[in-house]
Symmetry: C2
Subunit: 363 residues, 2 copies
């Protein structure tokens, strides 16, 4: 991400900034990888939360998008995205009615399931509007969160095939838990998870015919999963921007990071200590890392503490009050989630702002 272009924009600080050209390069790189490996790409939209970005990903070859929330699906559909997988469980009638409404309006909506309560509610909502809705069975390969345990899979699959307005179309597995390992360790884990998935695919074939879709993979693992024939679809999200974390675990270079937050040095009362006007309300700390701080010179400076509205930098001899610095967040998704809009350059002739329409979509 270009330091000069990012920090020179005529916006008050702090502001979130997107380098669209770099983001486009990232989109093309991963699409090209998926194409070469014969896999469908269904990028997760929770990283950018911007329908225009999803539509660009689709125009480059993606089959559709993932979202986590019904309200995110509504934002994406209203923004022109027609093929949407809610890659998360939905169990209440309010939400399944909203999903059925999306189906009625022409959205090719798909939903992850791992409970009879969820399927029963979704089936009822779909029946009421006279639609069939595609569901994908979420399995837990070790994330220890949602998803059917492998031993329970055959029994659950049998039950899930019995709903008149639901069509089971495959298996989904999310493994965000392996991101922070070394690449060789991630590779070993994926291989082990593929063994389990292969067994589940055999169960599936026996009970329900060949699964149409086997959908997996975060930015940390999609390239490892792509090596295996049973996988049909990849779901990475963060690659659209990358971040400090993906760079630390080797999925990206510093140059590939396409999103940042610009702040101003607002206080410098201690020797060799500068305070920036952006804290963890402006850039994520949820994975335990501070952002990378880039000074006007292009050098990085160590971050020693953060609070709600402040980032404290030690070894700040180069910095003076009023200087703008670029923070490269540890986690792009939760940083984006803080901002209603972002500055963007490279999208149109002149830099401008773009609305982050999916921000705050919690339901």
């Amino acid at each position: 991400m270009n330091l000069e272009d990012s920090t020179a924009l005529q916006f008050d600080t702090p502001y979130m900034v997107i380098d669209f050209n770099q983001s486009l390069k990232n989109m093309k790189k991963v699409q090209s990888f998926a194409d070469q490996h014969g896999k469908t790409l269904r990028p997760h939209s929770k990283t950018h939360k911007i329908p225009l970005f999803s539509k660009r990903q689709i125009s480059l070859g993606a089959v559709g998008v993932c979202v986590q929330k019904v309200s995110e699906a509504e934002v994406m559909f209203d923004g022109g995205v027609e093929d949407i997988l809610i890659s998360n469980e939905v169990v209440t009638g309010i939400k399944t009615d909203r999903i059925a409404d999306l189906a009625s309006r022409g959205c090719r909506i798909k939903v992850a399931v791992d409970s009879e309560v969820g399927m029963s509610s979704l089936n009822e909502s779909a029946r009421e509007v006279g639609k069939e809705i595609d569901v994908i069975i979420d399995v837990d390969l070790g994330m220890d969160r949602c998803g059917i345990l492998p031993d329970d899979f055959p029994g659950f699959l049998k039950k899930s095939s019995g709903y008149s307005n639901l069509t089971v179309y495959g298996i989904m597995a999310y493994d965000g838990n392996v991101a922070d390992e070394s690449r060789s360790e991630r590779s070993r884990k994926v291989a082990s998870e593929v063994e389990t998935l292969t067994k589940l695919c055999k169960d599936y074939e026996r009970i329900n015919g060949e699964p149409q879709t086997v959908s997996v993979g975060a930015t940390s693992t999609y390239d490892l999963w792509a090596e295996y024939d049973i996988i049909t679809e990849l779901q990475p999200g963060t690659y659209v921007y990358y971040d400090r974390r993906t760079t630390e675990y080797g999925a990206s270079t510093m140059d590939e990071i396409a999103m940042g937050v610009v702040g101003t040095v607002m206080s410098k009362t201690h020797s060799n200590h500068a305070v920036i006007d952006a804290g963890y309300k402006s850039t994520s700390i949820d994975n335990g890392r501070y952002p990378i701080l880039i000074m006007p010179s292009g050098d990085t400076a160590p971050v020693t503490s953060m609070s709600e509205e402040h980032t404290v930098c030690s070894d700040a001899n180069q910095l003076k009050i009023g200087d703008r610095v670029l923070l490269l967040p540890s986690h792009a998704c939760t940083t984006t989630d803080q901002w209603d809009k972002a500055a963007i350059f490279g999208l149109n002739e002149k830099p401008g702002t773009i609305e982050i329409k999916g921000r705050g979509m919690r339901e």
Copy 2:
């Protein structure tokens, strides 16, 4: 906070919920404490970010509010709050112009200062609109963030008195750093900080006459500071709701917590393990603690992990899919900062929603 009232509201989950009656009790308790000790109360509004709440605090006796950002000041002034201290440094011309504009519009705006750059810019903006703006000198008593170091205070005070359109009216010190200590340790630290402040007040008196205001104190320390005569003003914020952290360090009881997030059990595929549809995009984790999870029975259940949209609870035999649970966040301020609106009961005859107008005000 009442579990039944909180979880029974007709809103889709997750939603943030406020028990207004409890919040009002908290407002009255702290106002009464300040009154009894002869101190001015200037509550920080960043906890609730709602002008209606600030106006209620003022109608109960508060002198005005604190905010951290110019954009927050604008939201508060537009919402009817007239006396506002930006208890944070402002250094750029864009922002000081906006402050001068607030002054022009009749806002009794005050600003913390710790640099000549900031004062010079503020003075210029004030001069352009023909106004005088009150500034308070921020001193660092150990927080190691913004603020003049005690040794540099006399020199800085002399300089700050030389701006034609600025009026220095006192000393401010924020000590959020001592919150997580025992009460006796906090008491010891406040006593030590009072020693330093007393010396600074003498410097102040010698150079500039008696300080009009000495403004200090978070929810963790305001009652300790109130014991000392040199202190004139207290700035607690979190007490309006309290949270898990204030309860753990002994500033509140569980019953006094007036804000929570309601979620639904959305997955239960593992024995004795339930997944809630609210993660750390819905409730804060910035101080390293998970929220307290209260089940429909009123019992608490242990939280074992959180991710963006999920809270995983172990020992969840009591919970079934579809159950609503109440999460009491670790940090009220950063939880509120996630929500554009909240459900509220006790404010009007029927429960409703209230807009969190200051959410996302970063500049």
